[in-house]
Symmetry: C2
Subunit: 218 residues, 2 copies
Amino acid sequence: MIITTVDIILLTLYQERLHVVLLRREQEPYKGALALPGGYIHPEEDDDSMAAARRVLLAKTGIAAPYLEQLYTFSSAARDPRGWSVSIAYYALVSSQDLLGQEHRWELLPVDGLPDLSFDHNKIVDRAVKRVRDKSTYSTLPCYLLPAEFTLGELQKTYEKVLGAPLNKASFRRKVDAWEFVEPVAGAIKLTGGKPAQLYQIRPDQSLALFSRTVRDA
Amino acid sequence: MIITTVDIILLTLYQERLHVVLLRREQEPYKGALALPGGYIHPEEDDDSMAAARRVLLAKTGIAAPYLEQLYTFSSAARDPRGWSVSIAYYALVSSQDLLGQEHRWELLPVDGLPDLSFDHNKIVDRAVKRVRDKSTYSTLPCYLLPAEFTLGELQKTYEKVLGAPLNKASFRRKVDAWEFVEPVAGAIKLTGGKPAQLYQIRPDQSLALFSRTVRDA
DNA sequence: GGAATAGTGTCTATGAGACAGTATGAA
DNA sequence: TTCATACTGTCTCATAGACACTATTCC
């Protein structure tokens, strides 16, 4: 018998660092330890594993319909003491505003320097973080960590925190210009203490766009 | 009950085009139709799904230990008429020399313009081809389509056939130089009809290296 | 006016594409 | 000698990083 589950790596940017949502396990194995939100696939209920991931995420964290993408499938005889198991892992990105509004039972920990998690979940988180960092260098992925409207300064800061390196301002804005994936929100201005900043939003026709690389600053 | 299988997309470069290895199904469903080599995970025998993929590939095609990488996991209630199923797909690359030496029962078809395959295997092949093409723009992946020793001309031709676009010779050689992933085989020269060409091999310390993008020619 | 942040103009360095050149074998 | 293919030198153009500059708010 093969155990078939989905696990979700729900990431957000909180206090200027990437954080992951974790739950305390209420049952054996690893009772009391931290683990990713996850659960069995329900063949009667779930059309596919993405639907299962969405259902599990909603049930365990109350988060509906963030950006969700299949990461990798972890499977072996050894990863679960109950037996041969398959975990189809999905990663999800949300803005901390969307995450933190509500009552919750989960914990939010920085992805760098996590304690020991259940199963092979440290490995799973590491792979998710690596994927997000890599993909952020050539796509609009980090936008999903921001609320619907944001300034270009916030956008740059988000890229910098995800990538872990400062970016060149002029160069970054040239890229954003060239990619044409955001548009100014007419009349929406954010007061920032200095010159007020124009608010932007993702263009409605854009979901996730892929490009050639952005590079770093000194 | 969830059906758990692995499928392997075995790709090679043959007659200057990417080809995929397919088998005729001997059992229902899709009896007599073309399908990717695949099979059930054997929990008693396979340590993990990569091992299962390797075992299935060897059993069904006689190919041992090519480059093998997890592609994606296809899973839904609908993709297999027998019920809810999960297929962990792996893609593999071999040189046509390694592939064609032996007796075989499989068929080799160009990946562009495939006929209808069993299950969702057309979709799986498409995703594999896309992955290989994408990854080839920034990695040494196409090397696995070549025999152990090759000329820089053959290397460039391989990249061109995989990417489907001509490349600039000077620029390509600069890249190969900069990446430092091949080394000349001392005294190994290939006669090509013109000036003889130096034979190269992958440097022993290199497995798969990733880089920033190679671009096209006019 | 000064501090703070938004946003821009422009110089320079790097690296890719173009293209023509040289090198070395076979017929 | 001519042809074919291997391999190289160098020009140009595109783009990213550096950095200083202007703009607009609050205090």
